[in-house]
């Protein structure tokens, strides 16, 4: 890991398993900074300077990973920061701090993931079988 040893192992694990791209990380952190309110994909896309459908894909992936909750309504889907456990929230908080202090190492870690785009599709297949609230 070319991160200079500043990122703790558990944070590295979280970043490797749950975050597929910088856009996804920034999306997650932005939602956390603006928590308590639901936002639609288009608004997030504007703040992250990415395309609308990329934002939607990123947000849906975060929902599948249990970090963000989605609200269906009359209009477009809205998303809000709502991690499944307190531990997850604490971890995201630490990541937020780490990203602010060590931008380059965190970025390198995420970019070093091999073929992260194909991995996210494959991971999406497995994520489809997460039942979340309604367990068998």
């Amino acid at each position: 890991m070319n991160d200079g040893g500043v990122i703790p192992v558990d944070a590295q694990q979280f970043l490797l398993r749950q975050i597929d791209s910088i856009a996804q990380l920034e999306g997650l952190l932005w939602l956390r900074a603006h928590a308590g309110q639901a936002w639609d994909a288009a608004t997030l896309a504007r703040h992250l300077y990415i395309a609308d459908d990329e934002a939607r894909a990123v947000l849906d992936q975060l929902v599948a990973r249990g970090l963000v909750a989605a609200e269906e309504g009359a209009g477009p889907r809205h998303y809000l920061y709502r991690p499944e456990t307190h531990e997850l929230d604490a971890m995201v908080g630490r990541i937020d701090d780490l990203y602010r202090r060590y931008l380059i190492p965190v970025t390198n870690l995420i970019h070093a993931k091999p073929q992260d785009r194909s991995k996210s599709r494959i991971a999406a297949f497995a994520d489809a079988f997460r039942l979340r609230k309604d367990k068998p």
Binding site: R56, A64, Q115, R121, A124, F125, A128, F129
Partner: protein, 87 residues
Amino acid sequence: MTAALIYSLCAATSLVCAMLLFGAYRRTRYRLLLWSALCFAGLTVSNAVLIIDKVLTPPSVDLTLWRYGITLISLLVFLYGLIWDTE
């Protein structure tokens, strides 16, 4: 009969897989999920036709080749997705 019961379980399981995958496809729009959903839907149909073939239709009607055809097409669709749509 045991066989019909087991194939019903298989059909039910495929149906659940198909529904979960299709739901995930609607959310993420990843085509791999569509192909896998279609595969499991096809396998559900194939298992259902098996039960219909054994229980409902008379012995003179044999749907075996149709079942195999549906199964094969379902698997080929999935294989296509696994090769072309995982980037």
